[in-house]
Symmetry: C2
Subunit: 164 residues, 2 copies
């Protein structure tokens, strides 16, 4: 398999600006971010790629969790006191520090996107931006392992520096 | 901004095996894949990261769209006859060729994951794997721009080689 695991390099398409300079106290999920506002500064060279984006109420952001220094395979996530395999969690300290958030799109002004429900650090390098489409992305009734009875607490739980 | 757009390199965590050797005829979305089966071969060095995964019915896959050769900023997507900015579509020919699919998890056997609703090419390098949690990932009632009246046709539409 190792032959197929060659490194892949991406150049960020932009940067996310948010009120969160530090992991301490940051919302742990966009759904629990209570409306926190931010902006996306898209690389002006990619401006043509934004045509039609204003028709969507939500965007899926895929980004580099650029402050994670040390990936771990087993973690105690913010929402539990027991350990879980990193791939069974949404914790940032992943082998590949890739983050995923669905945020609200408030306005498109040139290559600046105004967004809400932001749960990422200020200065986060954005790797991709996709329109959120419930018919593609929703799986109501999914079984959620250890998150059962805990996922809804995401809005009361904030980040700390445990995954730095 | 350019100073913050330094390249980011990831090493795949595994490979997706699917029935689709070629983009021609492949499902265009996991939700339209009609149950197509596949497997994920996770790098054995990451085995400990899978603990607890079997409690989840769905996984979010983030992967390298490794067969895209030429990114475009404006595309005619599979579901429309008009052009749209690439970031207002789910088309693969993106500036960063990153794919996102939510698949069903059928079984975990060591570092092999059996999955269904697969809409990716055989040999796709997997970058990250997250548990799907509706409370984090669902936004019912989202406004979906040009997908309105078209998203539900994803199950009747298959891929072709236009984005190669």
């Amino acid at each position: 398999m190792t032959r197929q695991l060659e490194p892949v390099t991406f150049r960020p398409i932009g940067v996310v600006r948010s009120p969160f300079a530090d992991p301490d106290g940051m919302p742990i999920q966009a759904s629990g971010a209570g409306g926190a506002r931010g902006t996306i500064e898209v690389d002006p060279a990619l401006a043509d790629g934004l045509a039609g984006l204003e028709g969507f109420s939500h965007l899926v952001l895929i980004y580099h969790l650029h402050r994670v220094r040390r990936p771990r395979l087993v973690v105690t996530p913010f929402l539990d006191t027991e350990t879980h395999g990193i791939f069974a969690t949404r914790s940032p300290a992943r082998p590949n520090a890739i983050g995923l958030s669905t945020v609200r799109l408030l306005a498109v002004r040139g290559t600046t996107l105004e967004i809400a429900d932001v749960d990422v650090l200020d200065g986060t390098p954005l790797l991709d931006l996709k329109p959120y489409v419930p018919a593609f992305d929703d799986r109501p009734g999914a079984r959620i392992g250890w998150f059962e009875g805990r996922a809804e607490r995401a809005g009361e739980t904030v980040s700390d520096d445990r995954f730095r």
